[in-house]
């Protein structure tokens, strides 16, 4: 298990770094997909099987397609990427490094709570999710439908061509 964890973590971190370092935005998206897949692997290690599958279907499937569309919409080329000055880069590295340092220092001494029953393989099954979703978390579930509909209305409003303006 630990071996798998470290392997997946290494893949996730490496691919996340590649997302930032790739020159072409398309390559970034492909690396992001790899990153998401390895995170789905982490979900499986945590006994959250349903979540892992949903993560693959929604994030690596649908949302990445959306990402690709947006990149194609924007008509990005390597030539029109804004030039960043040396000073900006150095500042970014220093601030990012400091944040990393503080985060490592904070997590090093952290007292984490124990998982309630780590050996319970049923916890991530669809049945369990359904039970909690439709009893305990009913209200957030219904609110999410309002969120979806407002996203839909917003997208149609912004994305639809005006028939009059043409």
């Amino acid at each position: 298990m630990t071996f798998l964890f470290y392997l997946l973590a290494a893949v996730a971190i490496l691919s996340a770094l590649m997302v930032v370092f790739s020159r072409s935005p398309i390559n970034s998206v492909i690396f992001l997909i790899i990153c998401f897949l390895s995170i789905a692997g982490h979900y499986i290690l945590l006994n959250a099987q349903f979540l892992a599958v949903v993560h693959i279907i929604v994030y690596t499937g649908a949302i990445m397609v959306l990402f690709l569309f947006v990149i194609m919409l924007l008509n990005l080329n390597t030539s029109n990427e804004p030039h960043k000055s040396q000073l900006t880069r150095i500042t970014a590295v220093i601030t990012g490094g400091l944040l990393l340092l503080v985060l490592i220092a904070a997590t090093k001494d952290a007292v984490l709570i124990q998982a309630k029953n780590p050996a319970d393989y049923n916890i991530g099954l669809v049945k369990q999710i359904g039970q909690t979703l439709f009893k305990q978390f009913l209200l957030p579930f219904e609110i999410s439908s309002v969120l979806f509909i407002s996203a839909m209305v917003g997208a149609v409003m912004l994305g639809k061509k005006d028939s009059k303006k043409n």
Binding site: L147, A151, L158
Partner: protein
């Protein structure tokens, strides 16, 4: 679920209901009947606002996930008033040719953000809180880009969505650390178990940063001016008043309940950021010529003042914050209402120099804007003075004398720039000032409500006393 349980959630349920009614009206009516959607939405919103004030039971639902206390209901009512005024003020703007075929979308998206804000204020756990926050910010980004044929509006939309995604990410990271160290997302459990281990402090800093983006507190304010300038005036007014008010409300509740164990720590953080926010907001506001940018920086500085009440941490402090937001709604919406009316009538004139000699041509509008700016500055006869006074008392009560000094100095600085537009309207001579125009009924009603609010809320001490009986502190 019993029937009484629905009564607890009446704000949210009624808002959802009118959102669905508007959607059905949009789907099933023809182009001619769509004219009716505008007045229909405003009337429905007015009904919801009034119904919100009716006495109703309080309690908790879903095992503490949803909490309806008197204070939270009061906050929701204040937000409803703000949204209603924005609705009324937008009516004449929505009638123009460009906007006519997306009227119901405007109302629908505004109402869904309001639903999100109400759920956020009533939240008893981090999941509900986060979902409410998302619902309150995502549709607003679509509204900021409402004016589809203006580049600035699109820029405002994309900036707002990117910034809110970034800040939500930071916030969620903080929440995940809280969950990791406490093992629960419910506010009551977290408040008991929350200590001051390094990771918990870190989680608070992430949480604070995320909220600071939403309230636009200074190191995280850079998006504000561009978004406020680019978005349509009515969306800007909603963003600067109702969105900000909702975030301040839930933040002040969470600081004194969830994070009460580290109160000494967050007070220090807030002390410094409040001082910087007031000062920098003021300094930048002085240099602005575009009135929307001007009000954007003024709203940043106002956020600094609002934080004074939160730093107090007492029940007086919370009452002062809620009262100040109520006053701020009327004052800022009054100012934005005038700017919107003038911008619509004159074809987008929003610079301070355009207002030269406005008093000669449009006396009523100039007087309203003057009153609103006086209220924002805190000049005695209007409500803003009392609001600032209570905020200062809340801080003085706890002995923050240095902070009080900085705040008073900033009030004096702010007097200078709030009087600049007043000087332009009354004293400056102009060869071609904006010609006289007649505002339509909706605009008048909106402005009258704002003026009445500024005067009545200031003089009726009952309102503050009532809010004070509901509030609670550390």
């Amino acid at each position: 679920m019993r029937l009484e349980d629905f009564l607890l959630m009446r704000h949210e349920l009624l808002l959802t209901l009118i959102a669905i009614i508007i959607l059905i009206a949009e789907i099933f009516t023809d182009d001619f009947k769509k004219q009716g959607i505008r007045p229909l939405s405003i009337i429905l919103m007015a009904i919801v606002t009034i119904v919100g004030f009716l006495p109703a039971p309080t309690g908790t639902l879903f095992g503490g996930m949803y909490q309806a206390t008197d204070m939270r209901l009061m906050m929701k009512n204040i937000l409803n008033i703000g949204a209603l005024i924005v609705f009324i003020q937008s009516a004449s703007w929505l009638k123009s040719d460009d906007n006519q075929n997306k009227v119901s979308e405007f109302f629908l998206l505004l109402i869904s953000t309001l639903i999100g804000m109400n759920f956020m204020i009533s939240s008893g756990d981090f999941l509900m809180f986060y979902l409410g926050l998302e619902l309150a910010t995502i549709p607003i980004a679509a509204l900021a880009a409402y004016d589809r044929y203006s580049n600035k509006s699109s820029e405002a939309g994309i900036k707002l969505i990117l910034i809110s995604a970034l800040s939500s990410g930071i916030l969620l990271y903080g929440i995940s650390m809280i969950y990791g160290t406490v093992g629960s997302v419910y506010f009551d459990k977290v408040s008991v178990a929350y200590g001051a281990t390094p990771l918990q402090i870190m989680s608070f800093i992430f949480f604070f940063t995320g909220m600071a983006f939403k309230i636009s507190i200074v190191p995280f304010h850079l998006w504000t001016a561009d978004v406020y300038e680019g978005a349509p005036v009515n969306v800007t007014s909603y963003l600067s008043v109702v969105s900000k008010g909702a975030a301040v409300f839930i933040f002040s509740i969470m600081l004194v309940t969830v994070f009460q164990n580290i109160a000494a720590m967050w007070k220090d953080v807030m002390w410094i950021t409040a001082a910087i926010t007031m000062t920098l907001g003021n300094l930048f506001a002085m240099r602005q010529n575009n009135l929307k940018r001007f009000l954007a920086f003024s709203s940043i500085s106002q956020a600094g003042f609002i934080m004074l009440g939160i730093i107090g941490g007492s029940e007086l402090g919370m009452a002062a914050v809620v009262y100040y937001i109520l006053v701020y709604i009327f004052s800022n919406l009054g100012a934005f209402g005038v700017i919107a009316a003038i911008s619509n009538a004159s074809g987008g004139k929003e610079n301070m120099s355009d207002y030269d000699g406005l008093y000669k041509t449009n006396p009523a509008l100039s007087l309203t804007l003057t009153l609103a700016l006086f209220s924002l500055a805190g000049i005695p006869p209007v409500a803003g003075f009392f609001g600032k006074f209570f905020l200062f008392t809340a801080v003085a009560e706890k002995g923050y004398w240095w902070l009080l000094t900085i705040a008073v100095l900033n009030t004096i600085i702010s007097l200078y720039y709030y009087l600049l537009p007043v000087k332009a309207m009354f004293i400056n001579k102009a060869e071609t000032s904006i010609a006289y125009f007649k505002s339509d009924g909706w605009t008048k009603v909106g402005l009258i409500i704002c003026v009445a609010g500024m005067v009545i809320v200031g003089f009726a001490s009952v309102i503050f006393e009532y809010i004070r009986t509901l509030s609670f502190g550390l």
